[in-house]
């Protein structure tokens, strides 16, 4: 894992001597199957994952260690995940918090966000969506929203929603831009067409209707990247999905 770096746009000098710091993530989830999958998905060179399977062990961990992002299930054995958020805020810990809950109840969602959670994701979700959300939280936390994302020759100004390739601006549509960010957040992973469709159109739209459109969006992104002199990073993987990776 080398080329993906995040740096502050107002201090570009940092890039030269920027040392890659691993992000620490805590996964609080009582459902073993789900916890293992998330852990496996996040298990990368630059990411350290810890897990907690109940309220008490989660509370013990957040009392001692600081995390870049905590993936927090709300319905836990021994307690409510919302109390962990309260504990963090009471101690003025600035960990990023992403709530994952089967209860798509608005009350929980609003309470969670009011208490200071950064985002809320309803089960079931795709791991790629989770990864994109966690990445976004960490990015926001580290650089206060004013930041840029660089992947080799691709430079993305997140505040201005602008993409430059080799310092030349390239125009992407809203969906193409969103898809590009999604790919970069999930670099090296196979993203299924279902996950892409849900990311682009939400879950209220019949996903099967949109598979053909994914192809044309990706074709456009690829074309724009290549025409601007970038490498072609998007690979189709055996009819199932796409992967954004170094060639």
């Amino acid at each position: 894992m080398v080329n993906a770096t995040i740096y502050h746009r107002f201090s570009p000098n940092l890039t030269s001597n920027f040392t890659q710091k691993a992000v620490k993530i805590l996964i609080v989830e009582d459902e073993t199957g789900l916890r293992d999958s998330i852990e496996a998905y996040f298990d990368e060179v630059d990411c350290i994952c810890e897990t907690a399977c109940d309220f008490n062990s989660a509370l013990a961990k957040v009392s001692v260690y600081r995390y870049d992002c905590i993936i927090l299930d709300l319905t836990l054995p021994q307690g409510n995940g919302l109390d962990i958020i309260k504990h963090l805020k009471a101690n003025q810990y600035n960990d990023g918090i992403l709530i994952i809950s089967a209860k798509n109840s608005l009350d929980d969602r609003l309470t969670g966000l009011d208490l200071g959670a950064d985002d809320y994701l309803t089960k079931p979700f795709h791991l790629s969506e989770l990864k994109a959300r966690v990445t976004a939280i960490i990015r926001r936390k580290s650089f206060n929203g004013n930041n840029a994302l660089i992947f080799n020759e691709i430079y993305i100004d997140l505040a201005g929603k602008m993409v430059k390739i080799n310092a030349q601006p390239v125009k992407f549509t809203r969906k193409e831009y969103s898809l590009l960010l999604y790919f970069i957040a999930n670099k090296g992973k196979v993203i299924s067409k279902n996950a892409i469709a849900e990311h682009l159109w939400g879950d209220s739209i019949d996903i099967a209707d949109n598979f053909d459109f994914i192809y044309s969006h990706i074709k456009n992104i690829r074309k724009k990247l290549v025409e601007a002199g970038s490498n072609d990073y998007i690979q189709a993987t055996y009819g199932m999905g796409y992967k954004f990776a170094e060639a």
Partner: protein
């Protein structure tokens, strides 16, 4: 027929019949009493004639009178003494009046005379008439008094009944308003009130637990679905797959996505019915329509659909989520049931939103509004319009469907 009307009808019929009989009996009684009196007066006259003849040995002189007439004629045949009904010629007014007469005989100096005393009954007839009018007047007044009293008393007595009935009419299972007790001093109504209260409470509890079950079941299903989903996401990272394997994986992905949507729709429906979505805020409908069209732009382009959108600004104080769901469903439907090179018209006005589209087949809106009803070619899950309808119900909007000029037209009146 209303209870009051039925009761009044019955009551009045009986009253009128009884009063009618009473009037008839009354009439004949008075008539016979007055006849008797006239007869007595005739007897008095007869007696006077007898006394006069006895004393003076000749017939009395006859004076003309207004109401009375006495005739003496020589009787050739034997005369039986009897009372008869006859007429009397009133010479002043020159008209015939009903009269009563007595036929009798008297012997004056060995000669038999027939006596005919006629007494006009016009006065008694007048009296009967007056009495009859008074009686009819009394009946009328009595009937009217009965009507008014019935109305007042019945209205008051049956008030609790109508209150209970009104509440039953407004009763809505999904509603959280309780049935209020209706106070009454009448035992039957107290019973009815308690029975209705107990019944609605029981029905509501049953319904609530059924809904809670649906909701809990959907919730509990979410976690295993999440695990399947995440395992699939993990699986596709592992290795190269053959074409056959990836086809299978795609099918599983698709099915899980379908299951998820079905489950989410059921949860959403339960929540809307329970009015658990209460994040009302000022929502700009125009923005939502535009966003929704943006979400569907690919399919609109690929079907080459002629989209005509006439959108005016419209603010609503509602849940943004629900408005998005409403528009998403309506617009998805308009696209799903459309054909290539078809047409969609979306009009947003301050009073209403109209979405009309060309489409393949007609359908019965009442059927479609039922859960899990869908047309054969539909790939949806059959809850879309049910959800739309429920959302509109919650906000007192009116969702209507018409088939106009070969366009399927849905309108939402705010």
């Amino acid at each position: 027929m209303k209870l009051l009307a039925k009761y009044n009808w019955f009551n009045l019929t009986v009253t009128v019949i009884i009063m009618g009989f009473a009037a008839i009996i009354y009439y004949f009684t008075i008539r016979s009493i007055l006849s008797n009196q006239v007869d007595k007066a005739l007897l008095v006259e007869e007696n006077e004639v007898f006394n006069y003849v006895k004393l003076n040995k000749h017939l009395p002189q006859v004076f003309k009178s207004n109401h009375q007439q006495i005739n003496f004629t020589i009787a050739r045949q034997p005369v039986t003494r009897q009372f008869i009904d006859t007429t009397f010629l009133d010479q002043k007014e020159n008209e015939l009046e009903p009269a009563r007469a007595i036929i009798s005989k008297v012997n004056v100096n060995g000669e038999n005379y027939k006596i005919l005393v006629i007494l006009s009954r016009v006065e008694t007839e007048d009296l009967i008439e007056v009495i009859f009018i008074i009686t009819i007047g009394l009946i009328t007044i009595l009937v009217m008094a009965l009507l008014i009293i019935n109305r007042l008393i019945l209205g008051r007595i049956w008030k609790p009944f109508y209150q209970i009935l009104e509440q039953l009419k407004l009763f809505n299972l999904a509603d959280h308003k309780p049935i209020h007790n209706v106070s009454s001093t009448i035992e039957e109504f107290i019973d009815l009130d308690q029975a209705v209260g107990a019944m609605t409470l029981r029905v509501k509890n049953d319904y609530q637990s059924l809904k809670a079950f649906t909701e809990n079941a959907s919730h509990e299903l979410m976690t295993p679905i999440a695990v399947i989903n995440s395992k699939l996401d993990t699986l596709v990272q592992t290795d190269q797959f053959t074409e056959k394997q990836s086809k299978l994986l795609n099918d599983i992905y698709g099915t899980v996505a379908r299951l998820t949507r079905l489950n989410k729709s059921m949860l959403l429906l339960a929540k809307i019915e329970n009015r658990m979505i209460r994040d009302d805020e000022d929502v700009n409908m125009k923005e939502i329509v535009e966003e929704c069209l943006y979400q569907h732009e690919e399919i609109i382009q690929s079907l080459n659909i002629d989209l005509i959108a006439d959108l005016q600004d419209k603010q609503l104080h509602t849940s943004k989520l629900l408005m998005e769901v409403l528009l998403n469903n309506l617009i998805s439907n308009a696209l799903r049931h459309n054909y290539a090179n078809g047409k969609i018209t979306i009009t947003l006005q301050p009073q209403q939103l109209i979405i009309s589209n060309t489409g393949k087949s007609t359908f019965d809106i009442d059927q479609v509004l039922k859960r899990f009803q869908k047309s054969n070619e539909s790939e949806g899950i059959g809850l879309g319009l049910t959800i739309c309808n429920q959302i509109c119900d919650n906000y007192d909007f009116k969702l209507q469907y018409h088939y106009i000029n070969e366009m399927h037209t849905f309108s939402v009146n705010f």
